[in-house]
Structure formats: C-alpha cells, structure tokens
C-alpha cells in the first residue's frame, strides 16, 4: 500500500441550493478539512456533513464505483466522487452538481428520471418473440459475443457522459454516450430481433448518433472506460449500411 504522506489542508467550495426551501438561493459554501491517507471525496463529503453542515445533500450508495450514484463536477470535470482520491486533486476543490439533470439539492441530481426515460424511448431491452421455456436448455451464445456484449453492458448510468456532452446540454432529448451505448449493446445481442430499419429509426437522427458534435468528452470522462468511440463508429456504420440497403430496395 503506497500510502502518501499527507499533511495538507483541503479547501472545498461547494454549490448549495435547496429547491424545497423558499429562502434558499443558489450560492457556494466553503469548508476546510485535514487530508488523511486514502481520503476519497466520499470520506471528505461525509466529514463535511457530519462535522460542519448536516444539511449538505449528496448521493452515495455503494462507495465502490459500481452503482453510479455519486457523479458530480469535480474541479470542472464530471467524475465519480467515491473513487476520486483527494491526493489526485489540488488543495482547492470545487464541487458542483452535474449539469443536464434536474437538481434535487446541492450536489444531488435526478439521474433516475433521465435514465428511465432514455430506456423507455430506446426500448433498451431484448426484443424477442420467443417465450421463455423453463424446461429448455439455455439458448447458446459464443463466449466471444457474450464478452463483447458485457463490455458495453458495463455502463453504470452515472451520467458523467451526459453532463460532459455539448449536445445533451442543449437538447435534453439527445441520447448521449450512455443512450447510444445502450442501443449498441442490444444491437450486437443476437437475442434481440429488431431489424435494420427499426434500429435506423431509433438511432439515425439528430437525437441519436447524428446529433453528436464529435467532441467525444464522453469517452474522456467515462469512469468505466467504455469504448464510446467504437460505439459511435459502429452505430454510424450500421446507420449508413441500413440507409444504403433501403435505397437499393
């Protein structure tokens, strides 16, 4: 364990606004903490709440970078707070809620509603006419395909890509990295019976893959390092071939 010698005093500037309080106005508050070894923003924010301001709102659940609850703007960049070590940050730390989502309060935003709506709109589930037969052996799949699906299935819907996306910040219906990745995940799943025309309708438009400005901040900030560049390439290629096939008919 490479424990760093930490004697720093950390200075936090944190966005505050409680929409449930008529007297609350958006502002920032300052807090100071002594840094400790392996301190993460999960530890730091809980210390601030418990020692300085018990009204501070933020979201954590698994605190192990798996559940996706705790994304926020850390010094201007979307990140999972639970796995952000303070030792990787300067002494001055600015924390703001993710943009592009509705604010719940302080650092807490409503990602749940955004993602549920996205899943409904893209019908992000396996479309299969086959009924489940409890007596039958499982449908076979090559391990390579399973591994490829899993690679894209790993999205934890934290919202970092949405918050970092130029298109999603001006159009709240743009699917962003998470939405397009979700489509790609089902498109490559042989169990999903949707045909090219259906995929084309879903993805080949301004709110899908052609609404992307190509800045690709999503790929830079994704905490799971999902292959979002490949996702865009894959979806554009698929859209093109579907479009060409339709023209030939």
């Amino acid at each position: 364990m490479n424990e760093k010698n930490t004697a720093r005093r950390l200075r936090f500037e944190i966005f505050r606004y409680n929409p449930q309080d008529p007297d609350s106005v958006p502002h920032t508050d300052r807090f100071e903490l002594d840094e400790t070894p392996f301190m993460t923003l999960y530890i730091a924010l809980n210390q601030i709440r418990e020692k300085h301001d018990p009204g501070l709102q933020f979201d954590f659940s698994c605190r192990s970078a798996i559940c996706g609850s705790c994304a926020m703007m850390v010094n201007g960049r979307p990140a999972l707070a639970c796995r952000t070590l303070t030792s990787d940050l300067p002494e001055d730390i600015q924390l703001y809620p993710l943009p592009a989502f509705k604010l719940v309060g302080d650092l807490s935003v409503d990602t749940g509603t955004w993602f549920r709506e996205m899943v409904e709109r893209t019908e992000a589930w396996v479309h299969s006419q086959l009924p489940f037969d409890p007596a039958a052996e499982e449908q076979r799949m090559s391990d390579d395909i399973a591994a490829a699906i899993y690679e894209n299935d790993r999205c934890i819907e934290c919202g970092c890509c949405v918050a970092s996306c130029g298109a999603a910040n001006v159009d709240d219906k743009f699917l962003a990295g998470a939405g397009l990745n979700r489509i790609a995940r089902f498109m490559m799943d042989p169990r999903d019976e949707r045909d090219d025309a259906q995929w084309f309708d879903l993805v080949a438009n301004e709110q899908g893959v052609f609404g992307c400005f190509g800045l690709m901040a999503c790929a830079d900030v994704c905490p799971k390092e999902l292959p979002l560049l490949e996702v865009y390439g894959y979806l554009r290629r698929k859209s093109l071939s579907a479009g060409l096939a339709a023209r030939r008919k």
Binding site: N2, S61, S64, Y150
Partner: protein, 648 residues
C-alpha cells in the same frame, strides 16, 4: 404526485433484484404494481454482487455430475444445518430455471469455450478440455463450500448484469417505480397488512400507500456494523426494522451475520470470492498459504464463516501484516495473469486501481474479513408470507426464508433474489387476486399522522443531546468489536448494555439541521433508532444462543449443539415496547441428518431425539410461532432421501 393517499394492488418496497423480480411476477399476473426504492433501482446494492450466481446446470468439466440435489446438500451443509431444508430444496430445484430466465432477459453470461482451457486449481495450473458439444452453454466458476463448480457469472459484474436485465423487464412491463422514497412504517390492523407509510426523499413529505399485498425486499442490515461492512450506505435494514416495529411479525436468526473473508483494507469494499474460486491464495505476513494447513481439503475454498475465522486467528496470533489501519492479510491473484484479471475479474482490477492504487497482476491485495451478509430477516413461510400478518411478504436478503441458516454460501444470495422473487411474487400476486382493496382509510391516515409526528418531534427537540452520526459510529464499534466474528458471553453482555445506552442517547439526540425538504440529518435520524433496535436483536440473540453454528461463533461455547440449539431464533419487539421478546422454533422438516460439513470442526453435540420425533413437532411448533399456512403441505417439496445417491 402530491396526494397523501395512493392505492395499488401490489406494493413492493425495495427496487433491487428480489423486489423487481417479485414486481415482474405480480405485473405479469395483471396487477397494478408500485415499486418504492431509496435510489434509482439500478443503483440498488444487488449491482455490487460480483462473482456469481449458484445454479446446478453442470455445464463444464468441473461441474460434471452436478444437479440440484448436490446443490441442496452443499447449501444445507453450508448453513450448518440451520436452514429450512425444504426451502433449500425448492431453491436448488428452481435456480437453474432462474439463471436461464436471466439469459432470456439479456444477461451476457460467460459461456463455455469448447476445447482446451487453462484453470488454476489449488495452486496448480491445470489444462482441461471442455467438450465441444457444450460450447456456448453458460459456464461455471468455483466458489467456497461447493462440491462442484456451480457459480454462473458475467465476468465479475454478475449482480450488475442481472440487475440491469431485470430492470429492463420492469421498464418493458411499464411498472411504476418511485425512486427516492422510503417506507417508514407498515399500515396494518393487527392481522392484515394494508400497505405502508412512505417518506418522499426529494421533498421530505409523507404519504400512505394502500395495497392488497405488500412485499418487503429492502436487503440486509449490514450498516449496523458502521463502517465495518461491505454493504452500501443504503443497507440500513429499513424493511426489517418496520416489520419489527409491528410487534407482530418476528425476525428470524438475527444473530446469524456473515463476515466475508476478503474485503479491501482500509475501505471495506468487497473483493469477490471469485478471486479464490479462480485460483487466488491467502497469504500471511511471511507470505505463507496458511489455509493449506488449516483446511487441507477445501483450502481457501472452505465456507466463508470458516475462512474468516481462520483469518481472524492468524491475525490475532500476530501473523497479520501491520498497517496504519490495523492488521490485514494478503490476497494473491498475481499468477492468474493480467489477461484473466482484466476480463474475468475486471471489477476487481478496477477496485484495486481506484481505491488502493495497485495493480493486482503485480501486487498483493490487502484484505481482512468484514461484515457482508444478513442471514437473518423477516421470518416468512415457504411462500414468502410473513409470520403473523396476512398480506405481508418478504423476499431476498430482507427475508429469513430460510435457505441460508447460519452461513450462506457465496453465490447463493444472488440466486436467491431471483428464485425467491419468482416464488414470492407469484404468491403475493395470488393473494392480491383474492382480495379487495380495503377502504378503511382511517388506519392509513392514523399511521401517516404518527410518522409525520415522529419527524416533527425530531425537528422540535432541543437541548444538548449527542449527534446522530456520533451514535451511529459508536453502534458500529460495539457491533464489530463485541458482536463480531468471535463472540463471548461477557462481551455480548457489554454490547447489550452499551446498545441500551445508545438507544437512550438516540431518544435524546438533537438535530443541528433544521432545513425543510429532505434534510439528510433528519432522514438518517429517522432510521437510527430502527438500526439500534436491530443491533440489539443481534446482540441479545447472540448472547442467548450458547453454541457455535455457522457464522455465529461463541468461544465460550465452541461446539455446535444439535441437542439444544437445532432451532431458529425468533424475536418480536413492538415500537413502543421496552424489551424484545425471544422465542424459538424448529428449523423445519429435516431430511439430511445433521453431520459434519466437510470443512471446519468435526466436533459437535448430537441430537438427543430422533429425526422422526423432531419432524413430527415442526408443523405445530411453527404454527404456534405465527407461521401462516401455505396451500402446499409442509415438506411436500422435499425429495426425501434423494441426497443418499450423491452424498460424498
């Protein structure tokens, strides 16, 4: 939605795997279903399950010959004969169906690769030829306490993949989910459950939900161990707590608390058993594999209770590795190689990088045992119907169904969520079909008023009381230090006294935050008393149980005692009552006679009565404890004696 009264057919409290799978069953039966969840459902703690889901498909070479009977045998042995054997049997029989159903929902299970495969087994690299005709079937990895490789997995993100697939089905069926809501009390008339009072965690307001059937699937209560747990911050036992508050519904085996051998130091984050299943070792300060000598047969893959105790002993004897966070041991997975670690154990790779800054292909991982799983919970019959309160059901970790007894096997809980979700959801749906919604809203508004008053009282209280966070930390210390892996009567008595003091402190604690809305301090304060009450049931249950069984180990009573303690602890404790009330019931019909588990100690105190005599008393004794009848006869799902053909 701002109404103070909401109605639905089936209310599901908890949006993890068990709750959502119940909801699917109820919705498929045509019911209107409402799911309440503390967090968006995909953030539920089910997503953190890593290594696998046990189901006896028998698809690869090391799984050959596996079947539900072997799975049943492993589960009962793992439970140290604390399980209800009929429930273990139902579970083992349906687990393969549940896993295949998840494949149908879209889980990308890791598959058999026909041809030559390399595995690590007991420290040796082994080459095995998987049958070409099995190529593409769901494959298995090894886990602790099992005779066969049985854990089905999707890399080390099995819970994530399963939860997302099940939630897809929930969305597809159009089931209503209200996230950021918390059930804070059950509505009941003394014999029937009528719904729940809910706090909206966006606005801080309360409302009532009236339902024909109510299912609690809120997961475990690991956070009563403070920071000494792998559990998410939301695993505060809220569902078990509101059931206990009724004073009617008992909690079962609360003292049965699992400690997972390998959690990361210092954060307590889980490192999957799949690491050892895939061939990882445990090392002491001298880099010796201490498990080889201590458990020659199963080595690192004995059950979790046994491995955790060996680790605690090694550290107690001074062979732990010193660190600023206390002693720990090493998990060594370097020899599995980077390719394996970055595919089959990818989540472990990420966790090591993110939280201790190390590369597990090059460095040893600092680990030690930490609270992980709650075998105890809301006591239900084999249909998931809670004892004592008609129309209340429970499933998953929140329930004591009770297939785990005093120790759960790795991979069995993830499978339980889906299997019990199917079964309990079906029974809750059938119950709702035969019911009309009760229109006596008076009881609902009374319960609502009580909950609102409780919050208002917290806000109004002034004085010099302790902070709720301070009390929480003190609770965690008491639980880990005195109700932990090794327990003694003296320490448990101290724990009971200290928890009693903390309950007093809680009644006088004062909030510093008076903000309207969620008020995170108030939100936690409203749960704290329930957590302390759950802690008390664990400590007192452990004090009363003067034997050692599974994860409950008394150094002053080190033997399993089948003569006096082949039973299940039940505890009832109404919200306004001073002391919890304990009673005991037989574990269930016994098919597999109590014996040696195949690992751990072989010494025990034998039953005095015959199994036939024991079994004769089970239905009557359990009925006296409030068990409501199932439509099926007790014991009808046991395949009696089937184990004789496979017992090794």
């Amino acid at each position: 939605m701002t109404g103070k009264l909401v109605t639905t057919d089936v209310l599901v409290i908890g949006g993890g795997l068990a709750g959502e799978r119940c909801a699917i069953e109820a919705a498929a039966a045509g019911h209107e279903v409402l799911i309440l969840s503390l967090v968006p459902p995909r953030r539920s703690h089910s997503c953190a399950a890593q290594g696998g889901m046990q189901a006896a498909l028998g698809n690869n070479v090391k799984a050959a010959g596996d079947n539900p009977t072997v799975h049943f045998l492993d589960t009962v042995r793992g439970s140290d004969w604390g399980a209800d054997q009929e429930v273990a049997n139902i579970f083992a029989d349906e687990a393969p169906i549940a896993v295949r159903e998840l494949a149908h929902y879209g889980v990308p299970w890791t598959r058999v690769r026909g041809g030559r495969n390399k595995y690590f087994i007991k420290g040796e690299e082994v080459e095995i030829d998987e049958a070409i005709e099995n190529d593409g079937l769901i494959t298995h990895r090894d886990f602790g306490g099992t005779a066969k490789w049985r854990a089905c997995y999707a890399a080390a993100g099995t819970g994530h993949a399963a939860l997302y697939a099940v939630d897809c089905e929930v969305v597809r069926l159009g089931i209503t989910v209200r996230d950021r809501t918390e059930a804070v009390a059950l509505i009941h008339d003394g014999s029937r459950c009528l719904g729940a009072v809910v706090r909206d965690l966006r606005t801080g307001g309360h409302f009532s939900v009236m339902a024909k059937a109510t299912i609690i699937a809120t997961g475990g209560y690991g956070r009563i161990y403070g920071q000494y747990t792998t559990n998410a911050t939301i695993n505060e036992g809220t569902g078990a707590s509101i059931a206990l508050d009724t004073g009617i519904v008992p909690l079962g085996n609360m003292e049965a608390v699992q400690f997972h051998p390998t959690t990361l130091v210092p954060s307590g984050i889980l490192v999957t058993e799949g690491c050892r299943g895939d061939g990882g070792y445990l090392l002491d300060r001298n880099l010796e594999r201490f498990m080889v000598q201590r458990e020659p047969h199963k080595q690192e893959l004995a059950s979790r209770d046994v491995v955790s105790r060996h680790m605690a002993e090694v550290m107690r004897d001074g062979d732990g590795v010193d660190s600023p966070y206390g002693p720990h041991l090493w998990l060594d997975i370097r020899h599995l190689g980077e390719e394996h670690l970055r595919t089959k154990l990818l989540e472990v790779w990420d966790i090591c990088r993110d939280f201790v800054g190390l590369n597990p292909a090059e460095s040893l991982i600092p680990v030690r045992p930490t609270q992980h799983y709650s075998m105890g919970g809301i006591r239900v019959n084999k249909d998931g119907q809670a004892y004592g309160l008609l129309g209340l059901f429970a499933a998953g970790e929140a329930a004591c169904w009770d297939m785990h007894g005093f120790n759960r096997l790795g991979g069995n809980s993830l499978a339980e969520t889906i299997v019990s979700g199917r079964i309990v959801g079906r029974h809750a749906a059938a119950f709702a079909s035969g019911m009309t919604l009760r229109a006596d809203t008076g009881v609902a508004f009374d319960a609502l008023a009580t909950a609102e008053k409780r919050a208002a009282d917290w806000m109004a209280r002034t004085g010099k009381g302790r902070s709720v966070f301070e009390i929480r930390d003190a609770m965690g210390e008491v639980m880990m230090q005195k109700v932990g892996i090794f327990r003694t009567g003296d320490e448990l008595r101290e724990a009971v006294a200290e928890l009693g003091q903390l309950l007093n402190d809680c009644d006088n604690a004062v909030l510093r935050c008076k903000d309207p809305g969620l008020n995170p301090e108030l939100a936690f304060a409203l749960r704290l008393k329930g957590m302390l009450r759950l802690s008390m049931t664990v400590a007192r249950g452990a004090l009363a149980r003067t034997e050692s069984r599974g994860a409950h180990f008394r150094t002053d009573f080190p033997l399993r005692n089948d003569r006096e303690w082949l039973n299940r602890t039940l505890v009832r404790w109404g919200a306004e009552v001073g002391e919890p009330s304990f009673s005991y019931e037989p574990t269930g019909i016994i098919d597999l006679p109590p014996g040696h588990r195949g690992y751990g100690s072989d010494e025990r105190i034998e039953m005095a009565m015959s199994i036939d005599d024991y079994n004769r008393d089970v239905p009557g004794e359990q009925a006296r404890q409030g068990r409501l009848d199932s439509n099926e006869e007790m014991g009808s799902r046991l395949r009696r004696g089937a184990w004789k053909a496979v017992a090794g």
